[in-house]
């Protein structure tokens, strides 16, 4: 075995481990938010393991595809899933270093997520059904505004750390201690709106209905069934967990492990779970207390977050 490969092995192992863990937890987060929301509405809500049941059910079915669909249609969910998995490897979760941080930082992360979205949108257009096209065009409209806001928000933190590398960024915050700057809160507010918009939560999209006039993400994936749908659902859940992890990394990195000792990692696991849970509560409250916006109002909401991100960046310099 050549030295280069044997050096890379632990890194690859770590990346695999992180992806496996995140994939395992992702359905739980989605079901957890659904259950908390149900509780706020005085309903019992689905069991916490519902996400896993759904995935098992969908994966056990045979895929049904339209006769007019080309390979693009079949490739869509796979690329979407792969992009989400690849993005997971670029983000530090428990240890203050991303498994594949040598590959790239913020720009690669945003680009990878955009690639997944592009694949899903083209796949939705492929069968020529009006719902797919409608969903794709709506999703792209929102993404066109949300993506620059996401980048600017992440850049605000990167500017303080002087590094675009996510692992380097977290390590910088840990080393210098968290110096609170008003820009942090502005960037956090902007990114929180982006997380809501990107994960299709209520002021932007309603994940619980198939009401054709209002849906965005659901319209895009309306024609998928069986394992294809399972891949889309799983990747969406993973993306949601990933976004919450990003918020945790950027604004509350305290508790993350700086060494690979089991004790530190255990503490980091508890801290990460607690912080993601708190953010999930915030998402639930935001979803329960707001009414869904009209579609033409959504760009206004996303432009608020773009404004926050701009402002955060500007205040950093002043």
């Amino acid at each position: 075995m050549t030295p280069a490969i044997s050096d890379a092995l632990p890194t690859i192992g770590l990346a695999m481990l992180q992806v496996a863990g995140m994939l395992a937890v992702a359905p739980l987060l989605k079901a957890g938010i659904r259950r908390m929301k149900a509780r706020l509405q005085n309903r019992q809500g689905p069991p916490l393991l519902q996400g896993y049941y759904d995935l098992a059910k969908l994966l056990g079915k045979e895929p049904v595809r339209s006769e007019t669909a080309s390979w693009v249609y079949a490739a869509g969910p796979r690329v979407y899933f792969a992009a989400a998995v690849a993005a997971t490897m670029l983000v530090p979760v428990l240890i203050a270093a991303a498994p594949l941080e040598a590959a790239g930082g913020i720009l690669l992360l945003v680009g990878t997520l955009a690639l997944g979205r592009f694949a899903l949108a083209t796949a939705a257009l492929d069968t020529g059904s009006p719902f797919g096209g409608m969903g794709a065009s709506r999703d792209m409209t929102i993404a066109a505004l949300a993506e620059p806001a996401l980048m600017l928000g992440l850049f605000t933190s990167a500017l303080a750390a002087g590094s675009l590398n996510l692992g380097g960024l977290v390590r910088n915050v840990l080393q210098h201690g968290a110096t609170v700057h008003p820009a942090d809160l502005l960037a956090f507010a902007g990114l929180f709106i982006i997380v809501i918009a990107e994960t299709g939560r209520i002021p932007v999209d309603n994940p619980a209905t198939h009401l054709e006039l209002t849906m965005i993400h659901e319209a895009m994936v309306l024609e998928y069934a069986g394992p294809d749908l399972a891949l889309v659902e799983w990747a969406s859940a993973l993306k949601e967990l990933l976004y919450l992890t990003l918020l945790v990394d950027f604004f509350l990195p305290m508790g993350i492990a700086t060494s690979a000792s089991p004790g530190a990692i255990f503490v980091a696991l508890l801290a990460w779970a607690g912080k993601v849970f708190l953010l999930a509560i915030a998402v639930t409250i935001a979803e329960s207390t707001n009414a869904k916006l009209r579609l033409f109002r959504v760009p206004e909401l996303v432009s608020i977050s773009l404004g926050f991100a701009f402002l955060a960046l500007a205040i950093r310099f002043l």
Partner: protein, 216 residues
């Protein structure tokens, strides 16, 4: 987390709430955002009371929270309920354009704040910057919003901004002055509330651009 960190977070939260006021159109949400802003101001005052060991500021904080975070929002919501008006704001300028203007105003406010001698240190710099930005945003809101209630809220935002500087940079005015200001604010809100009802009675709308019809 030190007290100055909490103070900066409160100030930044106030700026975020002022910005959200510009960014959305529901009247009730605007009032709630104002309440949140006042609550943050109260927390900020309490933090200064602890860190600067000026315990009379606790009274200021308590008055701020009770009056501005609870009483005034409740009163304004009641006024809206009573007159039963349409609950959306129709600004003269649409939301993205307003946001852009407020962005510029914030940058100006922050830039100007670096000119003060007090704002050379970290915390004061941010407090003055945030307060100046909020002042400008409040003035902008007052100019571009048609509804009388939003104009009251804009005025109160300006008042919050001035209060933030007074408490944050000079660590508080004498208690008598603060009580006087609190009394002034509540009187202003009451009178403006009555005025709003009169406007609605007269024009069956809260749109103050119709006031120009009164010309003889």
């Amino acid at each position: 987390m030190t007290t100055s960190d909490v103070l900066i977070l409160c100030a930044a939260g106030m700026l975020v709430s002022a910005y959200l006021m510009v960014g959305q159109n529901a009247l009730f949400t605007t009032i709630r955002l104002y309440g949140l802003q006042a609550l943050l101001l109260g927390i900020g005052s309490a933090v200064i009371a602890v860190s600067a060991a000026r315990y009379e500021l606790f009274v200021t904080a308590a008055v701020t929270v009770a009056l501005k975070a609870v009483l005034i929002p409740w009163f304004l919501m009641r006024v809206i309920d009573r007159i039963g008006i349409h609950r959306e704001i129709e600004p003269f300028l649409n939301v993205p354009a307003s946001l852009l203007v407020c962005l510029g105003l914030t940058v100006v406010g922050y830039r100007v704040s670096t000119g003060f001698a007090e704002s050379s240190q970290g915390v004061s710099h941010h407090l003055v910057g945030v307060a100046l930005s909020m002042l400008l945003i409040g003035l902008f809101l007052m100019v571009t919003r048609k509804r009388a209630i939003t104009q009251i809220l804009a005025l109160l935002t300006v008042e919050n901004a001035v209060f933030l500087v007074a408490v944050g940079v000079t660590s508080g005015m004498p208690l008598v002055v603060e009580l006087g200001i609190a009394f002034d604010v509540i009187l202003a809100v009451l009178m403006l509330g009555i005025l709003v009802r009169r406007i609605v009675d007269r024009f069956e709308s809260m749109d103050i651009s119709r006031l120009s019809k009164l010309k003889g």
